[in-house]
Subunit: 346 residues, 4 copies
């Protein structure tokens, strides 16, 4: 295909983004071309749109961005054997080297030489995207495109939540952005004894309530530490799923983590965080796990299982359904936090 397609591009090294007609991607050897049906907006896309320091250091305009999607394979590159045109797919967005120690020992999600779709190579805010065969995930035919598209961030939440045992455990989710909201649902589905959630933004706290946590608390209004200690008979929670990256939330989380508890850190702080390692981790005998990406492919199998079985209902999380042309509205919604997940349809 040498025709043009509609795409949302970062046209130049400045805030903003624009709709443009660009070449449909070449399909290299070992790649497939996917016609995008739905694509969803990630916080990373907002960073690129806003052209923050991280984006400035990493993104090379002009470039199509976006990395969460669902679509249909329309063309196969040379040597592709496991897929065929018509397949309904999404994709893992970490393109890994397959030969480093991590890749060779079942830890490809922390490949030492990763490249990321929509960041280091053209993304999916477009009619078509080209993607390596090895990154493609076959979707169940009855999964709606908007759900299939958000499997990627849902996978982050799955990776975090299922990195420890949750059945019969008390869980605190700090930060109720889309991944935090997903984590509430996953923890409930996995048999948590109780799920508590904290979030400072009223809109998102209201969304959190729709995921049916036992408590949804606003730290600017109540003493979160006190509330959760009371709710857990003074013991504290077994598991902390830190989804905010906010230092206050991190400290509140460790304050109510019981001795011997487990903390999965996923939210990225915008700078260094002062930790009292003795009290927050060491005396407590806590275990802390850093959540990077999605386990390839354990996380995707778990994600499909939780979504296909209906164990987690993501309908409260997908708050906005827009057309690709309305990308700017979506990105601005994401900037304000007045939304859950925003999906763009083509």
């Amino acid at each position: 295909m040498s025709e043009k397609m509609r795409a949302v591009i970062k046209a130049k090294a400045a805030p903003g983004a624009e709709m443009a007609m660009v070449d449909i991607p070449q399909v290299g050897a070992g790649e497939v071309l996917v016609k995008v049906k739905a694509t969803s907006i990630c916080g990373t896309d907002v960073h690129i749109y806003n052209w923050d320091p991280w984006a400035r250091s990493r993104i090379k305009p002009p470039m199509v961005f976006g990395h969460e999607f669902a679509g249909e394979i329309v063309e196969l590159g040379d040597g592709v054997t496991t897929l065929k045109p018509g397949d309904y797919v999404s994709a893992e967005t970490h393109i890994v080297c397959h030969v480093c120690y991590q890749c060779r020992t079942g830890r490809a999600h922390i490949c030492k030489d990763v490249s990321i779709v929509g960041v280091d190579r053209p993304g999916c805010f477009a009619e078509y995207i080209s993607i390596p065969e090895g990154n493609v995930w076959l979707n169940p035919l009855d999964m709606p495109p908007e759900v299939a598209s958000i499997q990627e961030p849902f996978g982050n939440a799955v990776h975090a939540a299922l990195s420890t045992e949750l059945a019969g455990k008390t869980v605190l989710v700090t930060g109720c952005g889309p991944i935090g909201l997903m984590a509430i649902g996953i923890a409930r589905a996995a048999g948590a004894a109780a799920v508590y959630a904290t979030e400072v933004a009223p809109y998102r706290l209201a969304l959190a309530s729709r995921m049916a946590p036992d408590l949804a608390l606003n730290p600017t209004e109540v003493d979160v530490v006190n509330e959760i200690r009371t709710a857990t008979d003074g013991l504290g929670v077994d598991v902390l799923l830190e989804m905010s990256g906010n230092p206050s939330a991190i400290h509140e989380g460790f304050a109510v983590l019981r001795s011997g508890g487990y903390a999965a850190l996923l939210g990225l702080p915008s700078g260094p965080v002062e930790l009292d390692l003795s009290d927050e981790i060491i005396f407590k005998g806590a275990t802390v796990y850093g959540v990077a990406g999605r386990k390839m492919w354990e996380t995707w199998y778990q994600t499909r299982a939780l979504l296909s079985s209906g164990a987690v209902d993501v309908s409260p999380i997908i708050t906005h359904r827009l057309r690709l042309e309305e990308f700017e509205q979506g990105l601005k919604l994401m900037s304000t936090g007045q939304c859950g997940k925003v999906v763009l349809f083509l």
Copy 2:
């Protein structure tokens, strides 16, 4: 107290049991006396009633038997400090030595010198039972006595089911006696992607259906291996929870266990079982775990969490509520398999 109480006793070394007036137990140092409100019948009690070879080798009549119960503390022995009269309690029935390697390393459930309530010392088919302080479990005040009583066998199911990760996994439960029925509910509560159950007795298979498995199959009527392979797209199940002790069920279970799968064995075969270790375990890279008793006390905390939160509804499992005087009817029901859990009230 030196008065008499009603009790169901194994009066002599022969099949049967009888109601009798016996001395209320002495409360030794470190023990508490519990007034029993509800007690439930275990398969072990049926073995004692029927006086099978195991019972003949282990039980010393005359003795009160029974070991699952809920009741209220009415008297404290010397040195008891953590409990008080009026406490609403159940009990772990393995009385352990506290000093062997297993006890000293968090594995008291496999204590090398265990003694069992209702087997090696007087049980709870009676108005009162004396039990060591360290074996007592405080029940939530709002838990009905019949539910509190069955926490002990529920704990066996919890121990088996939560000995591996279930969220997003496919699970086969072979054998739908009470513990198998519980395991279905626990697996669902813990986020299993699908739960399959097998059982030869139609009554119990019907009960199994009420626990909402994805499939409830009778191996005498359908080709279980074929059905489950089809349901799992040829992959087989991730987890086998073997609750029957039946050789055919064990072989069917291993046949559909996927490579790298996990099997928890709880059902006790009545004799040796011929295994094809190469195909059933080794080439498969399977992990097999023997489930003995309940982890002390991790299992009890998990049990309380799953029951108190309503994550598992045991109401379909408790099929018969009788008076203590109707013990014989209960034991006979258990012998026939025409029941789930039978609870005797006082």
Copy 3:
């Protein structure tokens, strides 16, 4: 290359093997051609040589067999990017599908569609072997070819031994063929508190002693169960590494496995084995793991670490160094058990 090479082939469907001149293998896309320096004999090769029932059902003569080797890359097929001529290599002999559930979740060693070098495709008892790029393992330059060649079976022993924690634990190795001998060394290197070994063949028991176990026992001469119980103060061993496939050894192993212990089964019984699941696994709360192949590639990294650091000295294990032409002597030695590992040089 279209020239001929020397090779040991299974020429026809009957016992025996012969030296012949055959075509040097074609190097397909994604493959490399390796000039073999050393190749070692596995029990599987003996089965092929003896033409036992398994071999008859699986092997298609005429075919070069053998699968353990070290050599030098001399030619690259199309598309090979991570290797170069002159590389000093060995290879994982399981050629896996990369797309099944097991392969996609870090468990490629139990790929559902595996093909094996020297069994399902031409092997390495030859001057040259062609092997997929993805199966090649780079050897340290200072590792002698005979050691590099036996990394593959050493990996089986590593997979078994390091599938559980050994530091400070007591370990029983049942069966002192080459893999059992390696397991003794690995257990010692990993900090086992004590290592006990059993073997019925005097020659191999003598080799076992050279690996410095705390006890090396012949079950035909002493009461193994009694000896090991005594040595462990009646507790039994923490870990059983079953390397014999012999039913008596399996029963002895479970008899002395302590409650809560761990058993890795690697030896393949020649038929079904009657197990008393209640006493041997369930009441004991034992964990049993089936060891298939080598974890790709965790096992290979561990293997290299243990061999390169000198933590395990395999020199007592390599008992015979022959020329490729002396293959028949080597295969016969292996049949009799009057050897450790036999290496053929080219």
Copy 4:
């Protein structure tokens, strides 16, 4: 016994300590009286001696301090059943509540209501100490008293080092005080592929070298991060054992921890530490574990196994053998860091 004994006491709320004659401790119910043969000095004792802010907030003079010892039981309190006069013992110094969630689920080392020997109750820098039966550990008869005494801190090192798998792994120990020195030995004994150590004090770096690490580096003299990256082919270490509590060492440790690596934190920083959670933990997919005390009693079994088998030789670590009367010299040596472990004999 109502006689007097020699003891080192914190006589008043000020720096220093003194030798005094005090009452031999009463032996309460469930306690035993031990005649101390050897006692060793911990960093905690130095804090008490120096009367630092922590000591001021916690210690109530006058009090005998010290908590590491070996000795002989000379008297039993009421109800003691598992010990007898003449037993050669040491003790776990955390006296736990036995009833909290942690205690009841195999995590007594993080009991929520712990009291510590020599801190919250009289210690062992004395001729006699009274200790609860449940805290006593039987020593092997052939273990020298100075080795038996240092089992307690050795246990901290064991808890840290064996909290993850070390066989075939690369390990960095940051901080070579006595526990760091022990960790080097344990990591070697457990089959680490390579052990690297860092320490700023030349005396202790020299001691470290005697424990035979692959590299012993002084961060004030060399670029530790660069050296270790080079030594690990750019990959970084698999395991970090942080024994210093020093922020620079912590950052160096995380800088060279490979993606997916494991860090055990034991050293206590003197204040908050600024961490770049994104780079140091999250993107790396690292696991961080806080090491508090010793697992009761898994750690003690492991400790005995490693010391009795000779797998770890602690002779380079015990640098000073003094008389109890020379306690001040010992405490001053510990303050300067010009020592390994200092043992006081009686």
